[in-house]
């Protein structure tokens, strides 16, 4: 947590409601997100109990598993979920756009939109990952055949869960994290993981303070947990009797009795999910109200690229993702995530002066006014005469950059500024920084109009760079060094699921 965010939390305590920690929204919010609220049965390994799912705020689809320990019912749930999720994913496969690739020598196509799935919290993302794992290796033939949509659903859920790990991706988001990125509450991060309490701070309503509203929101009777774990009291007092009654009714063979018992069970599950369903859409509308940052679209385009590629992979009969990545794949993936994390952090700072302020506070960035400018300065010390304008920026911020460091300005991409002098004035608390500019000045020895900041301009300079980071190089999978276990094992590669794979889960 940065000092600015901690201060915002302190301000939230005093103000009685959450405080903004960004000036813009840093993630894409779809026009048509799919909200997915899974519930799992306590004690079981990710056994679905039910879910509310859908794109229509007023008409969610309720899925219920009357006996979560029953294997057929579990995969029946998967098939029902697939009936909602797969058509939703397909609905984005209409219009494509052409994108220049390989420095303009080739053209590739990507879909103009992509799916966005919203779950309440990070445990919801964990559910998606594990349910993907439990379904993607299933087979449609053999001993325990499942509906053909089940393994496909598993591949897509795994894909979404993988994207959720990718910093800056918006394909699978946890609402608590999406809101927490933009607001600081007057409670701890631990308590922010409770969606109702978090929203209570952002929007307390009814003349309550955030703190009071959050206490109300923590009452599981009024605001059931947002899942996937259920409230133990609900389990013991409502769910368990309803399940037992259903089992007895089903065993009796009387259809009327069975369907009545199922109705009771459905209402019980629905009662736990409906409040969260409303919170989710309130979260969506809160996020929509924020103006999007300038680089949000670019990151969403990456998501669309990845979505388009994965549809090709699946269409081509691609095998399910392996249980574990092999050494080379894992290293590549980690490298991708690290690059994404860095570029996401830089992009947010470039898009949002309030995020940049974190870096100003630590001395990695400063904002100041141009007080001197020599736009026509020529450097003739080398073999060739080059245009190297100099400017002096005067700032009240803490300046910790050193002479020789290369800085960038978010408003002037493509231009570098080398630090020549740093002169603090202790009497005024101001610092003069002389910068030598290169790049983005045009081709001649006199600068293109507007390419050199003028006296009086207010600018931000930072050590953060948005420029392209070349990817690292890795050996091919066949050449995995022995230090890393040698070439991948079968379970580390995507392969067709075997009969054992389909059976393994049940003993």
């Amino acid at each position: 947590m940065s000092t600015l965010t901690a201060l915002a939390r302190a301000e939230a305590v005093a103000a009685g409601h959450a405080q903004r920690i960004t000036t813009v929204r840093h993630l894409h919010v779809s026009d048509r997100p799919l909200v997915f609220l899974p519930l799992s049965m306590a004690g079981e390994a990710n056994a679905p109990l039910g879910a509310l799912v859908g794109t229509d705020p007023v008409e969610p689809k309720l899925l219920v598993v009357p006996q979560p320990r029953n294997r057929d019912q579990r995969f029946g749930f998967a098939a029902e979920l697939a009936e909602v999720l797969l058509p939703y994913l397909d609905s984005f496969r209409g219009v494509t756009e052409a994108v220049a690739a390989n420095r303009g020598r080739e053209v590739r196509y990507r879909y103009v939109d992509a799916p966005q799935v919203l779950v309440p919290n990070s445990a919801g993302i964990g559910f998606v990952r594990l349910f993907g794992r439990s379904t993607r290796f299933r087979r449609t033939d053999g001993d325990y055949p499942v509906h053909p949509s089940v393994p496909l659903l598993g591949q897509w859920l795994t894909f979404l869960a993988d994207r959720a790990e990718h910093p800056g991706s918006g394909m699978l988001l946890a609402m608590t994290e999406a809101l927490g990125l933009h607001w600081a509450t007057g409670q701890s991060a631990l308590e922010d993981a409770h969606l109702a309490a978090l929203l209570a701070w952002i929007d307390p309503g009814d003349g309550l303070t955030g703190a009071d509203a959050a206490v109300v929101a923590e009452d599981p009777l009024r605001w059931p947990p947002a899942g996937p774990a259920t409230d133990p009291t609900f389990d013991n007092e409502i769910l368990a009797p309803a399940m037992t009654a259903y089992e007895e009714a089903a065993a009796s063979g009387e259809e009327v009795r069975r369907s009545r018992a199922r109705g009771v069970l459905e209402e019980a599950v629905r009662s736990q999910l409906t409040p969260t369903w409303e919170l989710m859409w309130r979260g969506v509308s809160l996020l929509r109200r924020l103006p999007a940052g300038a680089r949000v679209d670019g990151r969403w385009a990456e998501d669309r690229d990845v979505f388009s590629n994965f549809t090709l992979y699946v269409d081509g009969g691609g095998y399910p993702q392996p249980r574990r990545d092999g050494a080379v794949n894992a290293a590549q993936r980690l490298h991708r995530l690290e690059r994404a994390l860095q570029s996401y952090a830089v992009q947010r700072a470039y898009d949002d002066p309030l995020v940049m302020a974190d870096h100003r506070l630590t001395g990695e960035a400063f904002v100041g006014e141009v007080t001197l400018a020599d736009p026509h300065r020529i450097d003739d010390s080398g073999k060739r005469r080059v245009l190297r304008p100099r400017i002096q920026v005067t700032t009240g911020d803490v300046v910790l950059v050193t002479v020789g460091a290369v800085l960038h300005s978010p408003s002037r991409p493509g231009q570098k500024a080398r630090v020549v002098f740093v002169t603090p004035d202790l009497s005024t608390g101001q610092t003069d920084v002389v910068l030598e500019l290169s790049g983005g000045l045009g081709r001649s020895l006199s600068p293109a109009p507007g390419s050199v900041p003028e006296v009086g301009d207010r600018l931000c300079y930072t050590t953060l760079s948005d420029s392209f980071m070349p990817p690292g190089e890795f050996p091919s999978r066949e050449e995995t060094p022995w230090t890393h276990g040698g070439p991948p094992q079968a379970y580390e590669e995507p392969v067709a699921p075997s009969v054992e794979d389909a059976r393994e889960e049940w003993a």
């Binding site: 901690a6 201060l7 302190a10 306590a42 929203l199 952002i202 605001w223 309030l354 302020a357 100003r360």
Partner: protein, 404 residues
Amino acid sequence: MTSISMGTSRNTAERLATIRGGAKPKRHNARTIAALTRNPGCARRAVLDTAGVDKQRLAAYIDFPARFGQSGFAIARGNAFESQVKASGAAELVKLLRERLGLPIPEVAYDDLETVTGREKETPEVRYARSRALLLRAAAGEDGAGTLFDHPLLGLDVAGQRVYLEPDLIAFQHEGRFHVVEIKSFAVVDGQADPGKVSAAAIQSAVYVLAMRQMLAEAGYDPEIVAHDVVLICPRDFSNSPTAVLVDVRKQLAVLRRQLGRMTKVDTMLAALPPNLTFDLAPDADGVPTRAPEALVDALQTVDARYAPDCLSVCELAYFCRAEARGCTAALGTSAREELGGIEQVETALALAKGELSPAEEQTEAAALLRNAARLRAELLAPAGVTLPPTLAPAGTSVAGAAG
């Protein structure tokens, strides 16, 4: 039933009895001992736990009930898994132990110390003595001393109280090493499990390792013959079939030792408290408390707490302490408190940030940073017109309003 150990003086024991009041001391178990290692700096918790006060009952009575429910489904699943692993002389377990520990089978003897005689009728002391005798025979390497001991009763001194613990199982390996085996019903999927659950299991197992080591050391054996690697048995993937993993609990052992060592120094803590301090609920003949809740709240406030948001998941009194800590930076979490320069009160931090309060000497640096931060927030939020969106939801759907 409470034996007074050497570390606790007669006086201290009487003080603790007064603090507890008429009620029987709340028994510790591996879970509560493990919980002691969280937030060791909290005097309130240390005093209440050492005295054996029923914190759950106390919290409920002063209207800050703890929310530690356990689902019947989870309990049922846990029991079913445990009995499956232990069925037919622990057949499944033996197979796993062979693979993991290299237990030379065929001679596996399985002693269930729970069912030897009706457990209900036996006092813990008797069961402990029996477990101790059996385990010491095994440690001595006597023939036919057994291999697997189910439900042995172990003892540990916690703040001068003898606490009895019941591990799920202990395996004995022939090469002269004991291993603690813990059976848990959370799944290990593709070799990975919920880290929170694994660390909870590890610290509980460490309590058993410590208790066994203490017992063997007292009998003159090398305590290190109890391995610091415990065997964790969990369901594999999404199935019911068990898998075994070795978990190294050396770190947990060190934490436990330090914390248990602290608790024996309860005398110093008691010296600072009012002599007549008590958390007695003063129940009447029907067991209904007669003492005013306010009096108990007053009593609680005489003992300093060190609230941190983590407490919510481990301590029964956490909701009370949280309410009390309103307005403290600690309530915002450890990292927020640190970023605010370790300043205790939110109000102070804000006043320093606004420059309305001149900082004490040790606050100068923190205050400068806070003033800078406040300047930046003010500079950037005001022109952008970024204020909190007013209530968004249509009437009747706000958080508090929709609940009715």
